[in-house]
């Protein structure tokens, strides 16, 4: 293959990305409204991290962080360890921590190509001076799981998804 079509393709792709930035949805991704309902536990507000886990069980991408004070991020141990030194800018996908009995609704952006491909969604939770749950909830990233109600094992009572109506 000559180089020219490659460059042309790249240009096309760049233009596409550039224009689609105005509607702000990456090509090939879907948005899911996600509700995290907490149990009535006693204690401080919980920090919850939603991550995409690949088939090898490794962290691939941080989808959402509930909790804005970086001081407490080390409490979400495994995620914090996997993040390592390279701290990606997560300010766009950060919301407030959530208290016992409360719920939090947020929109997750998920790559269509990863659905039904042995990827997993992990909900990891930590509360100050209380047990930490690596897998408070972990579900296979399948169309089926994304339309069901999934029960948590720690501070999360359940998580529900619904595809957003836009686009």
């Amino acid at each position: 293959m000559s180089r020219l079509p490659k460059i042309g393709l790249l240009l096309l792709a760049l233009i596409y990305v550039g224009t689609s930035a105005s509607i702000a949805q990456q090509p090939g991704t879907s948005q899911y409204k996600c509700m995290i309902q907490m149990t009535n536990y006693m204690g401080e507000k919980a920090y919850v991290v939603v991550s995409l886990i690949n088939s090898k069980g490794a962290y691939e991408k941080t989808l959402y962080v509930l909790g804005s004070d970086k001081k407490w991020y080390p409490d979400v141990k495994e995620w914090h360890k996997a993040l390592g030194r390279k701290k990606p800018n997560i300010s766009a996908i950060t919301g407030a921590s959530v208290a016992g009995g409360d719920r939090s609704v947020t929109v997750l952006e998920i790559d269509n190509a990863k659905i039904n491909k042995e990827y997993k969604l992990r909900f990891e939770s930590a509360v100050e001076d209380k047990p930490y749950y690596v897998k408070d909830l972990e579900i296979p990233l399948t169309t089926e799981a994304l339309s069901a109600k999934n029960e948590g094992t720690g501070y999360i009572r359940y998580v529900r998804f619904s595809p957003t109506t836009s686009n």
Partner: protein, 732 residues
Amino acid sequence: MTISVWRYSHLALAVSSFLLLTLASVTGIILAFEPVSQKLQPYRADNVGQLTLAQTLPVLKKGYEELTELSVDANQFVQLRGTDANGKNLTAYVDPRTGSILGTPTPQSEFFQWVTALHRSLFLHEAGRFFVGLTAFLLLLITVSGTMLIIQRQRGVKRFFTRIVRDNFAQYYHVVLGRLSLIPIIVIALSGTYLSLARFNLVGEATIVSPTIDLDALQSKPERKPADFAVFQNTRLVDVQSIEFPFSDDVEDYYTLKLKDRELTINQLTGEILSEKPYPTAVLLTSLSLDLHTGRGSLIWALILAVASGNILFFIYSGFAITWKRLANRAKNKYTATESRFIILVGSENGSTFRFAQLVHQHLLKQGKKAYLTDLNNYGVFPEAEHLLVLTATYGLGEAPTNARRFAALVEKYPQPQSVRYSVVGFGSHAYPDFCQFAFDVNQLLAKQAWAAPLVDIHTVNDRSPEEFSLWADAWSQQANLPIPISADLLQAPKRRFDKLTVTGNTRTALPDGTFLIRMRGSRRRNVASGDWLAIYPANDHRERLYSIGVLENELQLSVRLHPGGLGSGFLHELTPGEAIRARIVSNASFHFPKKAPVVIMIANGTGIAPFLGMISQNRQQTPCHLYCGFRQRTSLAMYGDFLEESRAAKKLTNLHIAYSREGDKQYVSDLLIRDADFITNVLMMNGVVMICGSLAMQKDVLDILDSLCQNKLGNAVSYYQAHGQLLMDCY
């Protein structure tokens, strides 16, 4: 004993908590500015007071793709969470009337996060929270014990806010600021304690448990629009804490409406209330405590909290300054009680009397005398004692200071085996009615003991006056034949700013009682009012003499009696017009003419008339003034006669009553008061003011009469009127 219990607990609590208290106060001051900075943000929509949910929700729903949550914070900023037209997460402050975006919430700044964590938990998690909570509780106890100390110091709850006698900077402001910031500090301590208790789940059910909804019983008919829901029509936006919108259109998803006092769930199709649950009291109290403790939602309260926290820091400083001083005054003895010839016994509540006792002690030691200094409570048998010196203050209503409470009992129990010469010096302040009462009691008690013989009569020292103390020291030295040159130590001339005054007139005197008037004018304009004092320095040294000022025609007029050999009076008598002197005007605001009084009664004897002359001369608003004055003979009045007649004609003086003590009926001014008893009680009843100026002897008589009048006819002690600024005194 109670005083010392409160004082020791106040100190012990302060010592045990001051480090954490300092930290909490400093961080608290910083944190007070967080609500202040929030308040200044322009995210508050106006006129939302009457807006109901039925009005605002349709507007908001129209403007956004989807709403998940709406919340109204303490600043009444309305925050919306949901998704925008692109399906992106959206969090924004909105105007609830139009739905337009006012701004984006920023997360709490890292600095405030850091300070908040330090304030709450010292970065020590649970353990830190416990210690901070304990500190809040200790602060509460400190406030309570401090309040008890003020009540005792002021002699009663009713006098809580009356004037405080100024001992020194730290002590004075410790008490003054303590009274002012009492309420905010109690609020801080109480709310802080409560928040900690709530944090450790010690106040009952403190969390809100979500209700369980019977999903099978949910109705989906009749369907209504949210604007038609009765509950939305009846709920104002300002009463809302948050609204959680239904997650999907399914009937099993519902609205959760969190109001200030209860939580409701609402069927999203029919508007039916599915559950209604009032918050537990503990939750409401927690919310109230947070409001009060953080000042969120109120700019003014937040600033008050900042000032109160600053005061706590000052209390820590001044409290330790007071304690340090008190400890430094503790006696260190070189000789034992059993071998000493001179026994110095001290009764002191706050330690200031100890300083005088130590001076005497040191002088005796310096001369090789065996002297022993101790508390009155440590009285016992002193086998070698020749001299007993008692220096004591008075506390409360003429009671013994804490370290002298047991003295009377001990004297009865331990008579001295040999004869001992004694001398008593009382320390006190004329600002209190029971001046040196306890010293008089001690003197009386010793006089009754067979082994005790007085060396010099009892002396009193007003407001720690060095002059009065050296008077005693001189008298004692001469009798004991032992020089104790106290004066040199105490009477160092203070560095002060002086005023230059030019004499404009001097009547001199040819009168038998030697009274004369002298007038002066200041070189520059100064705020001086009748009733202030003029301090003069006749010998240009430490010796100061005070005279009451009457301001007439913009000049200072003093009324002076010439004492044979008198330092001040002799100096003033020799001044001629045109001569300039160095003097100081001392403000005496507690003896100024009352601004708002229906009637003023002025009581004077002799030269005590001086300030009243000025006040009458300046009585342009013609407040009814009744002057009662006592003189020795008719001629004494002569120099005031014309002025008083003119004033009466000008309605500046309503009535004049004069008593002559050496002529005619030989009356005293107190006799006139007995005659006009009904009039005087009426004046006090209608909030009139009585002012007394003159000799202490006259003051004592007048106070006795007033006290019995007040007790019998008005049912109050005379101190009640003193406390209410209805009885003003300046006597010497």
